[in-house]
């Protein structure tokens, strides 16, 4: 049986004004952690705030896991108040994770904002598979964890929405540019919804298989409550709501229906 555990905060690093890296002791059960999986964090003290918050695994190390947390509200703020030595109740790993049983050698990984975090572990795992990986990361004003990606691939590009002329723009524009000259076999992506939508569109247009890591509001994170649904195709003309926390959070681009 799985056990959720109070795990110790080993290190906390302020990445920028809004983002912190928490390095947390691995739960002491023997469980393989896949890139794209997440843990569901109890953020405050006691019962408040009530619900857990899903945070993606960013990097799995021998005895610990790195998480990157963007402060956007009560829960993430409370998490970023934790101190080294504090214990956090983290439930996981949860979700399906990226499907790494892939064909093809040329991989592109596209991330936007805090969505770059889960792509780090993915890049690491893919780098062990001896494929070519181009990483493209898009940020608003300020890039982060770029050096971490560089440990696993030589090709890391960056765009900034408010950047200088060199790298100004959307990361999807960069992708569209590159695709003109390079044939990719596979796209992995995570980031804000409009970006995912655009990546899916590009993938379909160019006939490249895509895997999207989708965010959805969650409660249990374990598949019990059906609140985190993602609309996906079923058969030819039908569709279905499936659980982002269980059947996802990673979906193939061609199965997701973005109409809500």
């Amino acid at each position: 049986m799985k056990r959720d555990l109070l795990c110790k905060v080993i290190e906390k690093v302020k990445i920028n004004e809004n983002i912190y890296k928490l390095t947390i002791e691995k739960p002491n059960y023997n469980k393989n952690i896949k890139a794209g999986q997440f843990f569901n964090f109890k953020c405050g003290e006691g019962d408040y705030p009530l619900l857990r918050r899903p945070i993606s695994v960013a990097l799995v190390k021998k005895d610990s896991i790195d998480f990157y947390i963007n402060k956007v509200g009560k829960g993430t703020n409370a998490l970023c108040e934790k101190k080294e030595g504090d214990y956090i109740d983290i439930l996981g790993p949860l979700g399906n994770g990226f499907d790494l049983d892939i064909k093809g050698k040329n991989i592109v990984i596209i991330g936007g904002g805090i969505g770059v975090a889960p792509l780090l572990e993915l890049t690491k795992q893919l780098s062990d598979m001896h494929v070519n990986i181009d990483v493209m990361l898009g940020f608003k004003k300020e890039a982060f964890i770029v050096d971490e990606f560089k440990k696993y691939t030589g090709s890391v590009s960056i765009t900034l929405e408010n950047g200088s002329e060199v790298n100004k723009g959307y990361v999807t524009d960069l992708l569209k540019e590159r695709i003109k000259s390079k044939k990719y076999d596979y796209i992995f992506t995570c980031g804000p919804k409009p970006m995912l939508k655009e990546v899916k569109r590009i993938g379909e247009e160019e006939n490249i298989k895509t895997q999207l890591l989708m965010e959805e509001r969650m409660a249990c994170g374990i598949g019990a409550c059906l609140v985190c649904t993602c609309k996906v195709k079923r058969g030819k003309d039908d569709w279905n709501y499936v659980r982002t926390c269980k059947e996802g959070p990673v979906f193939y681009g061609d199965e997701v229906i973005f109409d809500e």
């Binding site: 374990i222 019990a224 809500e260």
Partner: protein, 307 residues
């Protein structure tokens, strides 16, 4: 712990202990089998079932509120036949009671589904006339005593199993509703279902839930639930399964004291998948510390200081 008698008899439905799980928060049990031993739960009320598959409401379906949550699942479920074929056999592996939570657009649908399930190995039917998340049926059946009486009576005719009626708190007077269910032939009452609520995203100027309204559950509603169980206990003579915001054994004991014979954990499961076991142990310890020998000893024992 063996010296505390934890078994309860809900007017024909015998539970090994009074800790049950609430419909919609435990799926069909599969997800929790990874965390806890389902044999140790008093009863499992499964996700609300309908005759046909339901896709449910659009996403987002959840919003957090101060010590509560709103859900707008909209009874997504694979339909009763799928349940019987693929989910019930899994559940029947465990030594626990299975409660089928039933829903319909019309009284006829309720009767049909009751009829179908009466021929299966489920142990009890829970008539959900309190779902706020569907357009037709749902809570509209649960807000008037006459309607509650009628639907209970009709379903009773088609239900050869133990019958629970689950009440909505969105009513004028829960006592008259409970009385109607009792008179209609319910063996047991469960309450409360969710309060109807709404939450707003002030930046987008939209509701957070795609459908607007949702059902409020969790600790925020506990005082309302405790009050309603108290009122119903003093009105009907059939047993009560109490629920609404139970997060620890202390909350559970509150419900026993005001008159619940068993308790049900809903939102709590979503936050802590081990919660049922923790609460079960907590109740036993509490009873021991207070020198009781059976959980039945404290049911309805509350005193009002000024009364």
């Amino acid at each position: 712990m063996s010296n505390i008698n934890m078994s309860v008899d809900l007017n024909g439905l015998k539970l090994k202990n009074p800790v049950t799980v609430a419909s919609g928060t435990f799926g069909f049990g599969r997800e929790f089998a990874d965390y806890i031993d389902l044999n140790k739960i008093g009863a499992i009320s499964v996700k609300g079932l309908t005759l046909e598959e339901r896709k449910g409401n659009p996403t987002p379906r959840v919003a957090e509120t101060p010590m509560g949550m709103l859900n707008s699942v909209g009874l997504q479920n694979p339909g009763v036949e799928y349940f019987i074929k693929y989910e019930l056999p899994f559940l029947k592996q465990f030594d626990t009671k299975i409660i089928a939570n039933i829903n319909g657009n019309t009284i006829e649908e309720y009767c049909k589904i009751a009829n179908i399930l009466s021929k299966t190995s489920v142990n009890s039917l829970e008539l959900n006339i309190s779902c706020p998340n569907v357009k037709k049926g749902g809570v509209s059946f649960g807000r008037e005593p006459e309607m509650v009486y009628e639907i209970t009576k009709k379903v009773r005719e088609y239900c050869s199993k133990h019958l629970i009626v689950k009440l909505s708190p969105n009513v004028k007077d829960i006592r008259e509703i409970a009385k109607a269910a009792e008179e209609g032939g319910a063996d047991c009452i469960s309450l409360i279902n969710t309060l109807i609520g709404m939450a707003v995203d002030i930046e987008k100027e939209t509701t957070i839930l795609a459908r607007g309204i949702g059902g409020l559950s969790g600790p925020a509603i506990k005082p309302v639930a405790v009050r309603m169980v108290y009122e119903v206990y003093n009105t009907v003579s059939i047993p009560i399964i109490g629920m609404g915001g139970i997060m620890n054994y202390k909350d559970a004991v509150e419900f026993f004291l005001v008159g619940a014979s068993a308790i049900s954990i809903g939102t709590g499961n979503l936050i802590n998948p081990y919660i049922t076991m923790e609460i079960l142990n907590g109740i036993e310890n509490h009873l021991k510390t207070k020198n009781y020998t059976s959980v039945k000893d404290i049911v309805g024992k509350i005193k009002i200081p000024s009364a």
